[in-house]
Symmetry: C2
Subunit: 248 residues, 2 copies
């Protein structure tokens, strides 16, 4: 029943399955530690097992799930250590990419970013948090593209998804209006075509973002105490006990 969310739109059932499953992981309808049965997913999405397997293989490659042969497929949450790894990688790549973008971004693209920034206003009002996130996302993505390196672009886009997941996982995260100033500085650096400065501003921006993510650390602890992924190793793992399906 329910519905058939993916009727092989026009991208193939495997790609559609990938999108749907990843989407559910991203918004935590599939929580970390949850078991994903191929047959159940196939039935639920109205496709055979093959496209599901293709989708899961890709998700595994991107680090979203872990497969234990003959046992089960589990949603892999990021441990604190892995979150730090993501942060560390961003801190290396993003400033460098911002530096490249300062030299390579087209004036048109830059003007577009500037317009989007001006349109936003001067502070992050109550209900406009999502809007700010969108602006931030647009800025980062534009920088990734402008750097003109497809390899790095792919890595960063995937990384940004993980950051997004982390943000949704952690506490609602306070974000002061000063964050807008960071984007303003970033734009200014890009417009001045000063790679060094753009890199430095980006570095600061990411450090601040992480600071507002890290402080929960023991405060809100949303729901599950410590589900996490059940050891991606081929060894005898200890998969968390099968949990009742959250989704209706």
């Amino acid at each position: 029943m329910t519905e058939s969310p993916l009727a092989a739109a026009d991208i193939g059932r495997a790609a559609a399955s990938y999108r749907e499953i990843k989407s559910r992981i991203m918004d935590r309808r599939f929580a970390p530690g949850e078991k994903l049965s191929e047959v159940r997913l196939a039935a639920e999405l109205g496709v055979g097992r093959s496209p599901i397997r293709t989708a899961l293989a890709r998700l595994q490659g991107e680090g979203w799930i872990a497969v234990s042969p003959q046992s089960g497929t589990y949603v892999k949450g990021l441990t604190d250590a892995e979150m730090n790894e993501v942060f560390e990688l961003r801190l290396i790549l993003e400033p460098a990419v911002a530096g490249l973008a300062a030299e390579r971004m087209s004036s048109e693209e830059l003007a577009k970013l500037r317009r989007a920034f001006e349109a936003f206003g001067t502070e992050i009002a109550e209900g406009r948090v999502e809007e700010y996130f969108a602006l931030d996302l647009q800025t980062h993505r534009a920088i990734y593209s402008a750097a003109g390196n497809g390899l790095i672009h792919g890595i960063l886009v995937n990384l940004l998804d993980k950051v997004h997941w982390i943000q949704r996982t952690s506490v609602g995260s306070p974000r002061p209006s000063s964050a807008l100033g960071e984007i303003r500085d970033l734009l200014a650096a890009l417009e001045s075509r000063d790679g060094e400065r753009a890199a430095q501003v980006m570095r600061t921006h990411i450090l601040r973002t992480a600071k507002f993510r890290n402080l929960p650390a023991g405060a809100t602890e949303a729901e599950a105490p410590a589900p996490e992924a059940p050891a991606p190793s081929k060894e005898k793992a200890e998969p968390t006990r099968r949990r009742a399906r959250a989704a209706g």
Copy 2:
């Protein structure tokens, strides 16, 4: 006939197929532009199509092949632009990772690298080029591991495979004994626990490596004039005409 190179050793047929296919791509038994039929691979490796598909999906994710639905799977060579992308990414990541490694590498691991270096000798004699490459590889891998970031480690290991492929693709590459001095400097920087210096030395090392790679540019042009990959895009591509199998 031939043989059955992978009898599902102990890692599963899919993983074995992945290794074998990637190995053949790496040493150019599967050349860029060559068409890889799933059924042919399956027959050749003595497995069904499913493990082949799993292996190909992974190789696709890593950028080694491109799949055109209902048309064919093609070995994806790296264009000059993509080689530059690899180089650019290395130039960003490796110095940063070397910096981390300088702070985090254990003294034992460091001593092991030192021993391997001392054992090599003072210059790269005639028949010892492969030996030098092994030393270089060992050093780089040790640094990747010592940085203690699994995410970056995975990226760099995959990247190193591409570098390896590029090296085998380009001209035999001249490598002067001065390259040994670079490794010596690198080790010294690591031993002094000076992250900044390690990063700078690594940066120089990579720049020199690239220099000796780039100079062919129009010299030896080994075999195929310009096979390359047939547009990974979903659009109407122009797959190179099926070529006779090179392997006997």
